[in-house]
């Protein structure tokens, strides 16, 4: 045997020693369901698109949003972001500003004119969509992507539903609404406005539609029986906001009372302030804590000068004044009248006590269950009538969240179900992996970074205009904010497993390809799993 100078024995490599045989547990890479995704009613792959945004791949990020939600710029303004409430980063500092990044991406798409190509071959099927609110828009968008011919019948003169006639411009500029609806129209969806559907079965038959999605929302403001004198000016919030949008400014007077405690009440109050009311007073029957309105809305209303009277009900309305009864919370926490009354001067009373759906289009020979004023649907948004689907506010029970986001989710789910129904197949149930809970993270690895705040218009500048209150993030801030995401439960290629293995038993497959374990040498120590920042490695028992 010849050996180099000063080496007397032949050398072999320890690679001959397959230490993998020691293992009692083996590591496996997993993809868990991030809590943000889990909380999104529109079914967005939030963590997935944030991952793209982290790298500055804004277009890819936007396309991932578009895979479920066709309205990112709207969503980045109007959504109440349940994703952020669920975000694991709360445990470290504050939730990731997901909504702000979504808005940035949505606005970027509008600026750049990005659109989604329709690549599916034409199916030859025609689908009717009734209503062009977020539910109808989402359904139409997904149906057209699936190759169907889609026609939307809309009763109002313009499309958008509550996106246009409800949510005020200072929260959702109409240019944004127009841009996102135009994009859907350009993809081939035909919108027919001022076309109210009186009877859905007739409309389907006359238009030779193979299926229909009904997303008619809840357009009628509730008018409870409040004894009123002739001179009293009483109107409801949705009609008022609708009027503002059509340029028919309601004469509210100097002193306006808004009755209710939901988001609609806040919007009515903030709109009244902008229309020049000297005083806007919100009257609500329960306490501040029990107000269904989102906290941010309540704070903004207060900041803009809206006064609030909790534990009060309106028991009579006359010209120029209201009779208010003081309430008290009983043992069960319910509001009860005290019999103590007070007068309150008011030029007008705006009722924001909820909305109902006009269900007359289901009259006649359709098997649609509308008990308690809600359209009942199955898990696939189908009504009792085959081929007739419904979603959005019209199908949301009183306890369900009535939001733009939920409406988009319903529309998207319905589109998939309609597609399957038209093809005569049953939808495979979606398998959702277990949750990427916070206890699976190794938070030490994440750099400290507090949340970026969006700029806001000063309260003093909000009085007499409908300028947008909340501003957008700069590109730099949006990138920063995206990078605050911890990629819960999904590998983000930080190389930690590759680095921390004492046995070099992790193979790095290259950018975008993630890693693989080399089970010839992995001893199953589990360090990779403990040290994975985002909890994307499980240790499972080995069965030798």
């Amino acid at each position: 045997m010849t050996t180099p100078f000063a080496i007397t024995l032949g050398v072999g490599s320890s690679l001959a020693n397959k230490t993998g045989s020691w293992r009692v547990e083996r590591p496996v890479y997993v993809d868990r369901h991030p809590p943000c995704n889990n909380a999104c009613p529109a079914g967005e792959a939030t963590q997935g698109w944030l991952y793209q945004a982290e790298e500055g791949n804004y277009e890819a990020a936007w396309r991932l949003i578009m895979a479920s939600n066709p309205l990112p710029a709207i969503m980045g303004r109007a959504c109440f972001h349940p994703c952020e409430s669920a975000c694991n980063r709360v445990q470290i500092d504050e939730a990731v500003g997901i909504n702000a990044v979504e808005r940035f991406l949505g606005d970027r798409a509008i600026d750049e004119g990005w659109t989604v190509p329709v690549s599916a071959p034409p199916s030859g099927k025609r689908v009717l969509v009734v209503g062009s609110g977020p539910a109808g828009l989402a359904a139409a968008y997904h149906l057209v992507l699936l190759g169907h011919e889609v026609v939307v019948y809309e009763a109002a003169p313009q499309c958008g539903g509550m996106l246009r006639y409800g949510i005020p411009q200072y929260r959702l500029p109409r240019a944004v609404v127009d841009a996102e609806i135009d994009r859907i129209a350009a993809m081939g969806v035909r919108f027919e406005v001022e076309r109210r559907v009186e009877n859905v079965a007739d409309a389907m038959q006359r238009g030779a539609f193979d299926a229909a999605f009904v997303g008619i929302g809840a357009q009628r403001g509730k008018h409870p029986d409040i004894p009123s004198g002739d001179a009293a000016k009483v109107l409801d919030a949705v009609s008022m906001l609708h009027g503002v949008e059509e340029g028919a400014l309601p004469a509210l007077g100097r002193r306006v009372v808004i009755y209710g405690g939901g988001d609609t009440a806040m919007d009515a109050a903030r709109t009244a302030q902008r229309l020049g009311a000297a005083e806007t007073i919100l009257v609500y029957r329960r306490t501040r804590d029990q107000m269904p309105a989102h906290d941010e809305e309540v704070c903004d209303a207060a900041l803009e000068g809206v006064q609030m009277r909790w534990l009060s009900t309106v028991s009579r309305a006359d010209g120029g004044r209201l009779l208010i009864e003081t309430m008290v919370l009983n043992d069960q926490g319910l509001a009860e009248g005290t019999g103590h009354f007070e007068e309150l001067e008011a030029d007008s009373l705006v009722l924001a006590l909820g909305q109902d759906t006009d269900l007359t289009l289901f009259d006649g020979d359709v098997a649609v269950d509308t008990t308690r004023g809600v359209v009942h649907v199955d898990d696939h948004q189908m009504t009792g009538h085959a081929g007739l689907f419904c979603g959005g506010d019209a199908a949301a029970g009183p306890s369900a969240e009535r939001t733009v986001t939920a409406a988009v989710g319903d529309g998207a789910r319905a589109a998939a179900a309609i597609d399957a129904w038209l093809a005569g197949v049953t939808l495979a149930p979606t398998v959702i992996p277990p949750l990427a809970s916070a206890d699976r993270l190794n938070p030490w690895y994440y750099a400290d970074a507090s949340r970026t705040l969006r700029p806001r218009l000063e309260a003093a500048r909000r009085r007499s205009n409908f300028d947008e209150v909340v501003g957008g993030l700069t590109a730099e801030d949006a990138l920063f904010e995206a990078r605050r995401c911890m990629s819960c439960g999904n590998c983000f290629e930080c190389d930690n497993c590759y680095g921390v293995c004492p046995d070099n038993a992790v193979i790095k497959l290259g950018p975008g390809q993630r890693y693989e374990f080399n089970l010839d040498y992995c001893k199953g120590c589990g360090i990779c799993a403990t040290e994975c920042p985002c909890g994307a490695i499980d240790m499972v028992p080995e069965h030798h």
Binding site: V11, R483, C494, N496, V500, N518, T530
Partner: protein, 338 residues
């Protein structure tokens, strides 16, 4: 400040994780490189979760990167030598030399002298050993190497005991720790307090060009220290804390977590010094009470009951006091005015 943390922009995990797809290639760690040296390759016989195997690869890969592979490594006897080279196999992918337990520093001195004499001093020399080979039996050779300012980086992998021969006490074993020779019996169970050696401070007393400490929990810091050491000549010393699942009685998966706790509690201060003066220290990110570090270790089990409650508050307080002194001495909590 040598341990470079992301200066301006923010990159999700910053420089805490091994790699980061969001930063430029040159700023990533040696460990994240798919073509890293893998100085200690697979198939070695270290226990599952061995901190010493990990620490040695971290340090030598960084040294290999810093010297572009022009490196000779001298190893003293100990686990690191035994688990890596049972004839006819070797795990080393670096020029590697083993002589005895006590004399790694002297052999390295000789290697450096030989290279210089033959005009090949672009080749750099690292010597390495365990805490026994460094603080105890090898200390005379090491002190001589320091005193002569020989051109060698000596790396001690401190697992706080003679692990290879069955977990006997060394002069870096902490107070109260149970080992085979300091049983948890009698009025003061475990290792005695107030004895032992702080080798980094002893090295500083030699006023050599560079002394640093590091742990396997902070890779960027460790690599930057190796890099700094290799940019200098003369005697240099790096002391790396490497938890030992077998000797400490810990779960193999917790090796890095324990090294992190050793730092975050102040028990193991991470700093660097030049010519006898401390020049920087790594602040604690989340200051933690020492019992969080002690509780998971069986060698400290006699300080707790089965439920994990402290049963020897005086001993825990004494260890806490040592940690607090480190925090003051090395300014590990920057805003703290102590």
């Amino acid at each position: 400040m040598l341990s470079e943390r992301t200066p301006v922009r923010f990159y999700q995990v910053g420089s805490f994780a091994v790699g980061n797809r969001l930063v430029e290639l040159e700023r990533r760690s040696a460990q994240s490189d798919p073509r890293r040296a893998n100085s200690l390759s697979s198939g070695h016989r270290a226990c599952a979760g061995c901190g010493e195997a990990l620490g040695a690869r971290y340090a030598l890969d960084a040294a290999m990167r810093a010297t572009r592979g022009q490196l000779i490594c001298v190893n003293s006897t100990g686990c690191l030598e035994v688990f890596s080279t049972p004839y006819p196999e070797t795990s080393w992918r670096v020029a590697w030399l083993h002589s005895l337990f006590a004399n790694a520093a002297s052999v390295a001195t000789g290697v450096a002298a030989g290279l210089r004499a033959t005009g090949r001093d672009v080749v750099r020399v690292v010597a390495q050993g365990g805490d026994g080979g460094t603080a105890d039996i090898g200390f005379g050779a090491l002190s001589g190497m320091f005193e002569r300012n020989d051109d060698v980086l000596f790396i001690c992998y401190d697992n706080q005991g003679y692990m290879n021969t069955g977990v006997q006490r060394s002069s870096t074993t902490p107070g109260a720790a149970r080992t085979a020779t300091t049983q948890a019996v009698g009025p003061q169970p475990g290792n005695a307090f107030g004895q032992g050696k702080d080798v980094a401070r002893l090295a500083m007393a030699h006023e050599i060009p560079y002394v640093a400490t590091a742990t396997v929990a902070d890779l960027f810091d460790l690599e930057s220290k190796v890099e700094r050491a290799m940019s200098l000549h003369g005697a240099r010393y790096l002391h790396v804390l490497v938890p030992c699942p077998l000797g400490w009685g810990t779960l193999s998966k917790d090796t890095i977590a324990l090294a992190r706790l050793a730092h975050e509690t102040g028990i193991f201060p991470v700093f660097e010094a030049e010519y006898g003066e401390v020049t920087s220290s790594v602040p604690l990110r989340h200051r933690t009470a020492v019992e969080e570090y002690l509780r998971p270790q069986k060698r400290f089990a006699h300080l707790f009951d089965k439920s994990g409650a402290v049963t020897s508050p005086d001993v825990v307080a004494r260890i806490q006091a040592l940690a607090d002194r480190n925090i003051r001495r090395y300014s590990l909590v920057p805003d703290e005015d102590q």
